[in-house]
């Protein structure tokens, strides 16, 4: 129910605190992704959307963020194998 | 005496007005049909009811003469064939009633006397059955018990230690 959205988001942000910061900003990005997913789920209840595709887009975006972050980290660490694909 | 039957064809008779009651108060149904229960019909056979009449007629010394069309033949004396003791009792009653032992030489007369005594005693039998508030068998049992106690001497006491 939409009116419990803020509570849910608060609970998720609380749980996210234990998530490993795999690259700078990863945790914050994951939190935002989850908040966005919650909003999408609520929207889907009001007006059906292609919820799976929307959620997928969010997940892939987070994945790409992580990949870029790890790549940048590796480059900073001087890993010669790290080249952008 | 087994097998002794001095009056095989002699007729056993009662006054005609008691025919229906005799049927009602005895259990046998010579012509077939449902037998009444003993509570209502206390006498097993018509003979037993007649014999009770003989006994009560003898006790009260009442003999009623039975002429032909005023009486009903319910059986012949041949039905006493296997009841030696009843034959003996009938002969003894005849001797006691007439005072003549040789009356037994005239078997027809013995039965005649018995029929007359029965006719005299039947009203008492009917009264015994019908008077009272209980079932027929209970009324009869009570009255017969009273009559027995009346005529019998007191019972001898049991010997000590018996």
């Amino acid at each position: 129910m939409p009116t419990s959205q803020s509570q849910l988001t608060a609970i998720l942000r609380e749980q996210i605190k234990d998530l490993e910061e795999k690259c700078p900003g990863y945790r914050a990005k994951a939190a935002d992704t989850l908040a966005r997913i919650i909003v999408l789920e609520n929207q889907n209840r009001i007006r059906p959307i292609a919820i799976r595709q929307e959620v997928k887009r969010q997940c892939l975006a987070l994945g790409t963020f992580l990949a870029d972050g790890l790549r940048a980290q590796a480059a900073n660490d001087g890993d010669p194998t790290e080249t952008r694909q | 005496m087994k097998g002794y039957m001095p009056f095989p064809n002699a007729e056993l008779r009662i006054p005609i007005e008691y025919k229906d009651k005799m049927d009602a108060y005895t259990r046998t149904r010579p012509t077939g049909g449902e037998r009444p229960n003993p509570e209502d019909a206390p006498f097993p056979r018509q003979l037993d009811l007649w014999f009770m009449g003989v006994c009560l007629g003898a006790i009260s010394n009442e003999r009623v003469n039975l002429s032909g069309n005023q009486s009903h033949k319910f059986n012949t004396a041949s039905m006493l064939e296997n009841d030696a003791e009843k034959i003996e009792i009938l002969e003894l009653i005849a001797i006691a009633t007439t005072g003549d032992p040789y009356i037994i030489g005239d078997p027809r007369r013995v039965i005649e006397i018995a029929n007359e005594l029965a006719a005299g005693g039947l009203p008492q039998v009917m009264q015994m059955i019908e008077d009272g508030n209980s079932r027929n068998i209970d009324n009869l049992s009570d009255k017969v018990k009273a009559k027995l106690l009346e005529v019998l001497p007191p019972a001898k006491p049991e010997p000590a230690g018996a």
Partner: protein, 714 residues
């Protein structure tokens, strides 16, 4: 947040033209709508629900449920019916929360009265408008919007009438129904179902990425890994479904098992039908046996009347007299007489005793022979007489045989009396058992036992299935973790898989967080709801002390509302709580679940405190008013008695409704209405006016006449 601002009703039963305004004051969230029985309170409740959910919430889906006013005639033409509700919420049609927006929902239909007195309903429409400073804007998909704001599973939470105030605790509901309602309310309000959906959709993304790897990867090992992960994931989902379904089934079986056990116990207390039938059969046999004994005794008594002991006893004296005569003959040697042998001998010798020769054929011989014949007869009689002497002697002791007969009679009488007593007692026992058996409800104890055993076997099977599924889930979880680790490690070695690997990791992280949040809500938030419910409940009923029967209420893991008495004794809400306590429990639950979930929405309740009294009633109202964002209560004058202070403190708006047809029996003033309708006025709980004045109001010390009141707003 949702707040009702006002509502307008047109031709909805007796709400011909009614407008209500509700309090939106955060400090005084209570709106009281005062109305006596049949004034339209319940109708308003139905109308508001109809506005949100349509015909489906009406009895029997609204098929035969009249909405038009009862006195609407065919000649009045089609009846337009509408309910409008203006409300405020932070949700828009995109679903995002933010600033408060105002909406107006308008549900309409038309009913036409038919010739046979029935009606046809048509032209059902639902419109949703957003009210802005720039004007009204029609919104698309109003059904979806309303079902998102007010899901149907929360209907009982937000709209509660006097009957449904027991919708979570009522004894007439099955345990399964109550459990489901509690579960649905909690899941919806706490967002559990939303979290589940989110988690499932992210898992799907995981599967999608993995499938892509399986299909498009040139690396055989990776492909194989992806294939294994895919299979394991599918199996995990299957096993999870199996486990969840087994858990649900187990819950239902537990309820059925408990119900069957209860019925069995009750049946055993009332009487075991089979045992009773056995006892009855035995009593019947006893009765028949005693009856047969009685009949035997009677028959044997009848047979006594042919016994020679009787006749010999009766003729005791006559036999004595006959014996005397016979004895005289015997003493005179007249019996027995035996001339026969002498005569026979003489015939044989051929010489008579007088010395004359006896030759066969001559006269003397024949004379002797005829004498012999005569003598034969006399001898026979004499023999008989001689025999009768011994017979008479035997009968002379007939005093003994007579007494013997009496003894036999007495014995038979005694036996009969005993048998009759036995028969009577057996008959009494038999009839008593027969009545007991007839009175037993047709509950076969064995059938119940068999059913219970069957349920136990089913439980065992379901438990086995669940255990197997859980074992599989654990194994598959480990397997998947291992496979994914392998996949991660393999993909790390190859830079070209960095992107997919990161996507998988990200999806996995999101699933983990969502799962943790789900478990937190299930455990922590559920516990919070349970504790809050307990707190509200005990405060409402003034219980919880050592001396009280009710000590604690909680929501069990299966969503049962459980109440405890002293020493942790489980109380049955249906049997051990009063109606008032059960109502309080429902209200406490509703309050708890809305408080913990943070859902700020109105509670509209019809006469919730009517069966409560004294302190319970005051406390209930106070707690509800304190904890609610917006509380709209329908109360009668009797409900208001004793709680005027609470209403003074918390009510932001009070208005009164009256039924026009209650004049002159209840209403003092003639409303001059030709149609039955609900009338409104702004009288508070301490006032009356020309519209709502009822007989007796004038003399009620708690009420005063409202001065300057205008006519009815109808």
């Amino acid at each position: 947040m949702i707040l009702f601002k006002r509502s307008h009703f047109q031709n909805f039963r007796m709400l011909r033209e009614v407008e209500l305004e509700f309090s939106t004051d955060a400090h005084r969230p209570l709106t009281v709508i005062r109305g006596e029985n049949a004034s339209g309170k319940t109708t308003i409740l139905w109308a508001m629900q109809w506005a949100f959910w349509g015909d489906q919430i009406l009895p029997e889906g609204g098929r035969d449920f009249r909405l038009h006013p009862l006195d609407w005639h065919r000649t009045d033409g089609p009846c337009p019916i509408s309910v409008q509700i203006t409300f405020e919420t932070e949700v828009d049609e995109e679903g995002s929360t933010g600033i408060a927006r105002r909406y107006n929902i308008n549900r309409q239909c038309v009913e036409e009265v038919t010739a046979d007195g029935g009606f046809n309903r048509h032209s059902n429409t639902l419109s949703l408008y957003e009210l802005t400073d720039k004007g009204t804007q029609l919104k698309p998909h109003p059904e979806l919007f309303m079902s998102a704001i007010f899901p149907q599973e929360l209907r009982e939470v937000f709209f509660t009438d006097a009957a449904r105030v027991l919708s979570f605790t009522g004894s007439e509901l099955s345990q399964t129904t109550k459990r489901k309602r509690v579960q649905d309310a909690i899941r919806s309000l706490l967002g559990i179902d939303l979290l589940e959906d989110s988690r499932d959709h992210v898992r799907w993304v995981q599967t999608e990425i993995n499938s892509l790897l399986k299909e498009s990867s040139g690396d055989e090992f990776l492909k194989e890994l992806a294939g294994k992960i895919d299979r394991a994931d599918r199996e995990l989902q299957e096993q999870t479904k199996t486990r969840d379904s087994a858990t649900e089934q187990m819950g239902e079986l537990e309820v059925m098992y408990a119900e069957t056990s209860s019925k069995l116990e009750a049946a055993l207390v009332r009487g075991d039908r089979e045992k009773l039938a056995g006892d009855l059969s035995k009593a019947d046999a006893d009765s028949k046996r005693y009856r047969a004994q009685v009949e035997d005794c009677i028959r044997m008594r009848s047979d006594l009347f042919k016994d020679d002991n009787l006749s010999s006893g009766l003729l005791h004296r006559h036999i004595g007299a006959a014996l005397e005569k016979l004895w005289e003959l015997k003493e005179a040697n007249q019996i027995p007489r035996n001339f026969m042998p002498v005569l026979e001998q003489r015939l044989e010798m051929g010489e008579c005793i007088c010395g004359e020769k006896l030759v066969a054929g001559d006269e003397h011989y024949e004379h002797v022979r005829s004498l012999m014949k005569e003598q034969q007869l006399a001898d026979d009689t004499s023999s008989r007489l001689s025999y009768l002497v011994s017979a008479a002697l035997k009968f002379a002791s007939s005093d003994t045989t007579g007494h013997q007969w009496l003894g036999q009679l007495n014995n038979l009488w005694q036996m009969q009396a005993n048998a009759e007593t036995g028969w009577r007692e057996a008959e009494i026992g038999r009839r008593k058992l027969d009545l007991e058996l007839k009175d037993l409800p047709d509950t076969d104890v064995n059938q119940l036992r068999d059913h219970r055993n069957d349920l136990l076997r089913q439980k065992e099977r379901v438990l086995e299935r669940r255990s197997a599924a859980e074992t599989s889930i654990t194994r598959l979880g480990r397997e998947l973790t291992e496979l994914r680790d392998n996949q991660k490690n393999w993909m790390k070695r190859e830079n070209k898989y960095r992107e997919q690997q990161s996507q998988l990791e990200a999806a996995q992280d999101l699933v983990s967080v969502l799962q943790l949040a789900y478990e937190t809500i299930q455990n922590t938030k559920m516990k919070d709801v349970s504790e809050k419910m307990n707190d509200f409940f005990l405060r409402m009923i003034g219980a919880g002390r050592e001396s009280d029967m009710v000590r604690r209420a909680e929501i069990g893991p299966d969503f049962d509302i459980i109440v405890y008495g002293p020493h942790q004794k489980l109380l049955d809400p249906d049997r051990d709580l009063s109606g008032a306590q059960r109502r309080s429990l429902t209200l406490a639950f509703i309050l708890a679940v809305t408080t913990v979930s943070g859902v700020t929405a109105p509670s509209v309740i019809d006469t919730p405190i009517s069966e409560l009294s004294g302190a319970v009633r005051t406390e209930c109202l106070r707690i509800m008013s304190q904890m609610s964002q917006q509380l709209i209560l329908f109360l009668t004058r009797a409900d208001i008695e004793g709680v005027q202070g609470v209403i003074d403190e918390y009510a932001g708006k009070v208005l009164t409704i009256s039924n026009s047809t209650h004049f002159p029996q209840f209403l003092v003033n003639d409303p001059h209405e030709d149609k039955a309708k609900t009338m409104t006025c702004t009288c508070s709980h301490r006032e009356f006016c020309g519209v709502c004045e009822r007989v007796g109001d004038d003399s009620d010390p708690d009420l005063r006449r409202r001065m300057g009141a205008v006519g009815a707003r109808a």
